[in-house]
Subunit: 222 residues, 2 copies
Amino acid sequence: MNKRAVILLSGGLDSITALAFAKAEGYACYSISFDYGQRHKTELNAAQRLAEKYGVVEHKVIQIDLRTIGGSALTDDIDVPEVAQEGIPVTYVPARNTVFLAIALGWAEVLQAEAIYIGVNAVDYSGYPDCRPEFVTAFEKLANLAIKSATEGKPIYIRAPLMSLSKADIITHGTALGIDYSETISCYQADAQGRACGQCDSCRLRRQGFAEAGLADPTRYQ
Amino acid sequence: MNKRAVILLSGGLDSITALAFAKAEGYACYSISFDYGQRHKTELNAAQRLAEKYGVVEHKVIQIDLRTIGGSALTDDIDVPEVAQEGIPVTYVPARNTVFLAIALGWAEVLQAEAIYIGVNAVDYSGYPDCRPEFVTAFEKLANLAIKSATEGKPIYIRAPLMSLSKADIITHGTALGIDYSETISCYQADAQGRACGQCDSCRLRRQGFAEAGLADPTRYQ
């Protein structure tokens, strides 16, 4: 049996690059997306298409309604800000990566997967505590105490291959690994056709990344 | 504002005792249950009734379909065994406590709660890796790296007050704190009326607990 990895796939630029890294490591890839009440559902459609295009073995969408716990502009009725904010942005979803990694961990155990890939990185950090290297390290430690297979001598690894890369580096690496970014969606408020607003933090970082990488920006804007 | 705690409430004997401990510590209690595709839905009804009876401020039920990741007799079509098993039981749900704690953590942050209570203990352990003290400690460490409020100097504590107690001790403490266990459900295969099978691991531990505590067993059996 090929060694397996579970990849958190959001439909964005970073997570598909994380998947490309996993494939390059020789993993049979299993992708997982979360329908958590986010306003940008077009992401989920993009994730599904990307999973098919890049040959994952199985793609799963998990329903979990984080709106019921509230507290974020991505799931509540708080406006998404169009200017850069100081500190942790209001688009922060409480404990999101902890929840997503936890569910991915359950699937990883069922699959007897060796690794979970998550596309967090230093640029995406922008104040999110659950995108830092110490968070990933702590989750890996927890994971190896949490699941049956790990207590039986089969460790699980949490990989964050983009952690130390700039957005431009991510785009450069992903392009070299064969990723076509035109179908990825990074925008916090993409429209129903998947076109980006061009104004939010996420759009700004992405546009700047293509510019710094010296590559044409294939993003479809509104 | 009263200090707040989120309590993982399953409708069973242990979790309501954990809630009693939180109340005794002076916390305003917020309880959370998970509808995760388990076969024993009567637990969810019991949790709702117990939350009302013991005066929690708010009770939430989170929908999350763990059946889609499979791997457990509690959510799959594997038979629940009626004789004690060696090692980790087939009723183990992959990463269940990790997932539940992660979601509770998100709500705790929104509530600005100081603690999360979980009713795991040494007896319930019976091979479940995510019921051990080292798991709880690792989750607490993760939690304080994961959420915004913790990075801003407001730590969160994961409390497992039953960890070192036997089932008999739990029952003795809970009874002293005013808990009436007749409405709690521990059985893995309770019927629609909430009556216990009397045969599964969970029923066996519970019955033995009342016997060792020298208290009448109020459980309704099938």
